[in-house]
Subunit: 212 residues, 2 copies
Amino acid sequence: MENRKIPKPTIKRLAVYYRCLENLIKSGMETVSSQELGNRLNVKASQVRKDLSYFGEFGKRGIGYQTRRLQDGIAEILGIKREWNVCIVGAGNLGVALANYPGLFKSGYKIKAIFDIDPKKVGRKLQNGLVVEDLKNFGEIVRREKIHMGVIAVPASSAQYVANLMVSSRIEGIINFAPVRLNIPETFPLEEIDISLTFRALSFQINMQKNR
Amino acid sequence: MENRKIPKPTIKRLAVYYRCLENLIKSGMETVSSQELGNRLNVKASQVRKDLSYFGEFGKRGIGYQTRRLQDGIAEILGIKREWNVCIVGAGNLGVALANYPGLFKSGYKIKAIFDIDPKKVGRKLQNGLVVEDLKNFGEIVRREKIHMGVIAVPASSAQYVANLMVSSRIEGIINFAPVRLNIPETFPLEEIDISLTFRALSFQINMQKNR
């Protein structure tokens, strides 16, 4: 299976299927059809089948997919069956919120370090026991804690600086919360979250609702 | 134009096109082809054309789209050309981070109120001057402040309670940060952000990178 062949929206949907399968398995369902899965997630059944075919998973006509096997398959390609060490740069409200977000820990993402440059923040202890580290010790701590992923939670103006720091360290991928486009090598794994885009999508839904 | 006909991923992409057009206009570009727009955003040119055709916008062969006209068109359907009053329920780290997030304000989203039930949080003053309100005054404050959108930033266990409160108020749409599926009327405008899904998508990218 090659990365280039799997479109990004499919990857995102695989993560959504995974979470849905988790719930189905909890509620005792052993099989699920593409139709059922699609209905629950607002995705066309044909799209579900196409997405799952990317990694060679096929449902049986009239029976569907075995929930547990499908979940295992997705877990494997999404890299869910292992732990990931994560660091956060930026100990403002957002960085601290992420450091304390229980859902990440449950999903195998361990926040091992949080950094800032503000002397008032460095040394502060968070709810979860982590102490805010000085960004100047970034490289050393990233090596010592075997960090895999870096989260950028700084203002837009400092994001590129932090991204450069991450790319030149042993970090393998970046999640960027700063509303700015980063200039990093094209093949470097990157996910971007722009919260204002979600607000815009909601504005649109509300507008459409009113115009009906 | 009917809401039902525009798929959700298209709506999300329209918001992304909008942001890109903003940058293009700033840098003085008067026209842009679907190819260029697609390249910048990792979307196929054919997908760009399809997305824009949903609201009747067509590029001219060899010239492309007029950036300003296209941006205006998207702004109008996304409801960007107006201000939206927003409230946040949950004054934990995430709620406070959102209340202080400068990108929202710039995009026309005014955080008019933030609520909590914790007596230790109620009455606290945030950086931006907002005071945390008691959730028991929710309905009254939502009316007074003419709130349009509600953001759920509480733990998963309280999210449904808050959603019910919002649906039965004058609020027109919800953004849910709690990692739980809400049970609300199907036509009620809702956007969900599950941060752990972004981490999963990054895990996958890193895995694929290694297997090359």
